[in-house]
Amino acid sequence: MSRTKPERPRDTDDVTAALYEVLRDLAARSMGRERAGHTLQPTALVHEAWLRLARDDRDTWPDDGLFFAACAKAMRQVLIDHARRRDARKRGGDLVRVELADASAEEPGLELDVLALDEALVGLARAYPRAARVVELRFFAGLTGEEIAPLLEISPRTVDGDWRFARAWLIRALEAGEA
């Protein structure tokens, strides 16, 4: 399972580009395949992505940190992409409410606009790059604090502190955006 091979380090963005296609396809196909199965967890998607890439590209990952960072970025991109598509359809004016028993019911608690979040994260990353990475790994790669710590080479306590700070920062940014 080792991906550690130092010869061909790549830039996170290169990897992200490669992952993007994979993730988009996987995310799309995961929709509705399970009611609440693992395939919908971001970790699951990241994992599947890894499996798929690992087949041909097993030795190209310099380390776990880079891989997960790349995955998180790609996942973020997938979500943004879909959100933009939805917005485009909205603007097209063909939005009609459907009454279908099994239709994906909107979760009341989750009104978060992916695009707004993305924008806020860009802002956060400018002043607090490490805290932004924590958020990205947490949101888009589904990793826990314990998992994030070794990837960023910081302690779980620091991860926790970064998260608390980033959360407050993002809430402020999102509310400022709404106003």
Binding site: W50, R52, A54, E107, G142, E147
Partner: protein, 957 residues
């Protein structure tokens, strides 16, 4: 510090602080911007249940987010797809949406599956078309049929759809949860699913995503397979194969995913991937749980676990599933698909056979295969018990590596290379034997964690079979096997093996090599363990004479042999010689290795064995207690090697009355073994057995009985029928029964122990003799004189009173035989034997020995019971004066003197001599007043008996 850092730092400190402290921190901040931003952020931090929190790994929320971002499709649903009227949504497939549709002719419900538009180009479309093609090959009542396929307009472009038979039913897991069918019904249902999958396989279709939600159970309880969305064609369908390779293989649900799927080895995915998924399904059907649960685990971990984790055997999840069903599930879930059922029919066939109570075809895996898995999970056990098994592998690999290295360096002279080459060939052979054992099916290791002992034995058998022309390899392997057996408490078998191995080594000219020397040393030590002390001593002496000049007087081997010699001398016994040897050995160990070295500590332990035999208990306690922390540390990974040390120390503690400490020691050992090996391994049970022994000396027979029963049950289930542990636990159960006057049970336990001991130990072994003696004692308690006599007479002939090791047993046998004669009314012979037994013991151990006194008390009791009052009093006479003298200084003798006065009194009561009885009672009371410890129960009883007897006598008069 940058401004940003200042903000974050202040935020961190203030967030965790109380209100007052927070205010103080903020007020102290000189930079107003920093303070203002921080205050604002702190306010935001107070916000609870913000949508941001939902971005953690909550799948439902993420799903909504993702689905919201993808948008529903089609939106709104169409009224018609082709000729089918749409009535509602059934669900969203992996690439498609499934609607409930209505067909006009013939009228009925159908399922209409439509590809999502953003996937309608390229690979996804081809996959959709492939599904249509694969489904149209299939025609089976257990598979939802394809009815139609086509293209329909959805505003923009023509869009592919397919129409399937609509199954009105519930997913398998939900159905089972609601209906709770009995086990046979579940198995029948499972086989119906298998029938559908088998049909697909016959048509060259692998489902690849079998799971409960893809099996719908209709109202009649019949299952239907649905969703062939990720199915692939097996075999020669090149078009499908190439298509799917480029699509990537990671489809399917993790819990049901075979290791080859999880590893993305697409070329290996065949019908056996479905067999694996069916195995998971079967376990879930039977237990409600999947073999490996991933709930909430990070996915890289899940992947690793699919590849590596051995699921718990079914029998451990549910005891009633041990046996055939466990074997069936295990075979379906093999990590290596070559070990799985080759076809679904074979799997279903075994389930069928199970239902019909016929033998199944799957065999439980061979024990060494299980052992290898076990060793991987429990490295401590491997270190402890697997000496042989691991050494074997090490030999094979080591020799092979050595050869490779030699080759690579290319510096070796020709002849040395030739020698290395020969060694390599040998190691290949060894490896071949190992591989053979690993592959060999073996029926005995049903489900349980395999005992390394089984592996070792299996290995032993294979050596003889597979290395007929290689005495060197055979000798080597045989030695390792013998070593393991010795560690595992089987000296008899170990001795057999090492002797066979030595014969091989002799043929191969290895006896003078270090390994030959070690094998001979093992044999010598085993001889000692088998009670053949003199032979052991001679063998060790021979080895020392040979080894000292060869290896030097301070060689580790030679020093170890000195300890062996000392121990052999203790057993002979020749304590004076042993003392010299040990003193020399201990000094050398300390000098060569240092005082804290494990080898020096072992020397101390061996020395303590001598001190114990000398009765110098305080020395044993002092020396071992001193070394204890070091001993524990040295054997942290191999706690079973503390066995001897714990044995010595607790025996000494018992002898000096520190029973609770001895008990604590035994209990601690059980706990340590449990932690190191697990609750169910040999050494742990061995420690429990020792604990039972100590409990016995404490008179806690209830606990002994409980523990011994458990030991017996485990040993019977896991070890050879005649393993020493079986014999030992039967024997202690026999003693417990005797204590509670359950004579029949006691006799039965002893008799069974004898039967097994006769199988295990060589004839004439002292352990068999002792068991026969105990059985005879039970007979005496029941006044079965003839029976006891029949048991004892052969023993009298067999035992040699001149052999110090047998002497004590001889006295007991003679005494017991005397009692038998008394019971049978053969008074003269009885008295003669008993008196001789007492005299013999006095001669051997002296008048002052507590054992001599107890022997006399016992004899007096025997005579008294037979009405031989003068004899009963006479036998006590010679002891009374020396005992009175000793009682002034020794508590033990004071107690014995009290007991003896009581015994005298009791005889006088029976002989109707009340005046003498009264005098004896007064004497006993006088003695008892000097006792510091409370009077033992049986002495108290004797007092009671005597007082009552006197009162009765008075009343009688």
């Amino acid at each position: 510090m940058s401004r940003a850092d200042a903000v974050q730092a202040l935020f961190a400190r203030a967030l965790g602080a109380e209100a007052a402290e927070r205010a103080r921190l903020l007020a102290a901040e000189p930079d107003e911007d920093v303070r203002a931003e921080c205050e604002e952020l702190l306010r935001c931090a107070e916000r609870e249940e913000h949508p941001l929190d939902a971005w953690t790994v909550e799948p439902d929320r993420l799903r909504s987010a993702l689905e919201a971002s993808l948008g529903p499709w089609p939106d709104p649903p169409p009224e018609k797809v082709g000729p089918y009227a749409i009535r509602g949504l059934l669900g969203a497939g992996s690439m498609s949406t499934v609607f409930l549709g209505e067909r006009a002719h013939p009228r009925g419900d159908v399922a209409v599956k439509v590809l999502k538009p953003w996937l309608a180009g390229g690979e996804a479309l081809r996959r959709f078309e492939l599904e249509v093609e694969l489904l149209s090959r299939l025609d089976h009542p257990r598979i939802a049929r394809i009815l139609d396929a086509g293209r329909a307009d959805f505003g923009a472009a023509p869009h592919p759809y397919l129409v399937l038979e609509f199954v009105r039913g519930r997913p398998l897991d939900a159905w089972v949860e609601a209906e709770r069918p009995p086990r046979r019904e579940r198995l029948r249902l499972f086989n119906a699913v298998c029938a559908g999958v088998a049909h697909a396989h016959q048509k060259g279709v692998v489902h690849r995503d079998l799971k409960p939600s893809n099996v719908l159970v209709d109202e009649r309880g019949e299952p239907h397979l649905v969703d062939f969305g990720v199915a692939r064609a097996a075999g020669e369908d090149l078009r499908a194969a190439s298509l799917l390779t480029s699509m990537g293989q990671i489809v399917g649900t993790l819990e049901y995913m075979s290791p080859e799927q999880a590893a993305g080895r697409s070329d290996e995915i065949d019908t056996r991937a479905d067999v694996y998924a069916l195995g998971v399904l079967l376990q879930e059907l039977l237990t409600g749980r999947r073999p490996i649960e991933f709930e909430g685990r990070p996915l890289p971990e899940c992947l690793r676990r699919i590849a590596e984790e051995e699921p718990a055997p079914l029998g451990q999840v549910d005891r009633t599933l041990a046996g055939d069903l466990e074997t069936i599930v295990r075979k379906a879930l093999e990590k290596d698909r070559a070990r799985r059922y080759a076809t679904v029919q074979e799997l279903a066939g075994d389930v069928e056979r199970f239902l019909a109570n016929e033998p199944i075809t799957a065999r439980p895996p061979s024990s060494i295969y299980l052992a290898r898995k076990y060793v991987r999970r429990h490295p401590a056990v491997a270190a402890a018990a697997g000496v042989g098994a691991l050494a074997l592998v090490a030999t094979a690999v080591g020799v092979s590596l050595g050869w490779r290295e030699a080759r690579a360096q290319g510096r070796l002279a020709e002849e040395r290379l030739a020698a290395a080459e020969a060694a390599r060939e040998e190691s290949d052979r060894v490896a071949a034997v190992l591989a053979g054992v690993i592959r060999a099916p073996q029926a005995s290791a049903q489900g349980r964690d395999v005992l390394l002992r089984d592996v070792v034995l299996e290995l032993g058998d294979d050596i003889r079979e597979h290395l007929p022309d290689h005495p060197r390899g055979r000798g080597q392997l045989g030695f390792f096997v013998a070593q393991s057996l010795s560690t595992l408490g089987e000296p008899t078998r170990a001795l057999e093996r090492v002797e066979a191995s030595l014969a091989d080594m002799e043929k191969a000219g290895m006896l003078r090599e270090p390994i030959g020397y070690d094998a001979r040393r093992l044999r010598a030590s085993l001889l000692g363990q088998m009670g053949r002390a003199a032979e052991s001593r001679d063998a060790v002496k021979e080895l020392l004479a040979e080894g000292e000049p060869r290896y030097g007087a301070e060689d580790e081997r030679v020093l170890g042999l000195l300890l062996d010699l000392g121990t052999a001398l203790v057993n002979v016994p020749d304590l004076a010689a042993a003392e010299n040897v040990f003193e020399d050995a201990l000094a050398k160990h300390a000098r060569v290795f240092g005082g804290a070295d494990p080898r020096t500590l072992q020397a101390k332990v061996a020395f303590a064995g001598l001190r114990l035999s000398q009765g110098r208990f305080d020395a044993v306690i002092a020396e071992l207690s001193d070394a204890w922390p070091l001993l524990r540390a040295a054997h942290a990974d191999e706690p079973h090697r503390m066995k001897t040390a714990i044995g010595h120390l607790s025996e000494a503690l018992t002898a000096t009355g520190e029973l609770e400490r001895a008990l604590a020691l035994r209990r601690e050992q059980v706990e340590i073994c449990e932690a190191a090996f697990g609750p169910d391994q040999y050494h742990t049970w061995d420690a429990r057995m020792d604990l039972a022994g100590t409990l016995m000396t404490l008179g806690r027979f209830g606990e002994v009985q409980e523990l011994s029963s458990a030991v017996l049950e485990w040993a019977r289930a896991n070890l050879d029928a005649s393993h020493p542990m079986v014999i030992g636990s039967l024997s202690s159960l026999g003693s417990c029964h005797l204590i509670y006057d359950r004579f029949e049970e006691s006799e039965a336990s002893y008799r069974e122990a004898i039967k097994l001991a006769e199988l295990h130990y060589p004839s004439g072994d002292l352990r068999i003799t002792t068991l026969r003696l105990r059985t005879a004692e039970v007979a005496i308690y029941q006044a079965k004189g003839a029976e006891a006599k029949a048991l004892l007479e052969p023993l009298m002939a067999e035992l040699d009173p001149r052999d110090p090791a047998q002497r004590s047993t001889f006295f007991r046998v003679r005494n017991c035989l005397g009692k038998a004669h008394l019971i049978l009314g053969e008074t003269d012979r009885g008295v003669e034997l008993i008196e001789a037994a007492v005299a013999d013991r006095v001669e051997a151990e002296g008048m002052a020995s507590p054992y001599s006194v107890i022997g006399a008390l016992d004899a007096s009791d025997s005579f008294g019971r037979s009405g031989l009052y003068p004899e009963a009093l006479a036998i006590l006479g010679p002891f009374e004066e020396p005992l009175a003298e000793l009682a002034k200084t020794s508590a033990v003798h004071l107690e014995l003197a009290t007991a003896m006065a009581l015994q005298r009194g009791l005889i006088h009561v029976r002989a109707e001599e009340p005046a003498e009885a009264k005098a004896a009672l007064a004497r006993a009371e006088e003695l008892a007043a000097g006792l510091e410890q409370p009077i033992a129960d049986d002495v108290e009883d004797a007092f009671q008996l005597l007082r009552t007897g006197l009162e009765e006598a008075r009343a009688h008069r």
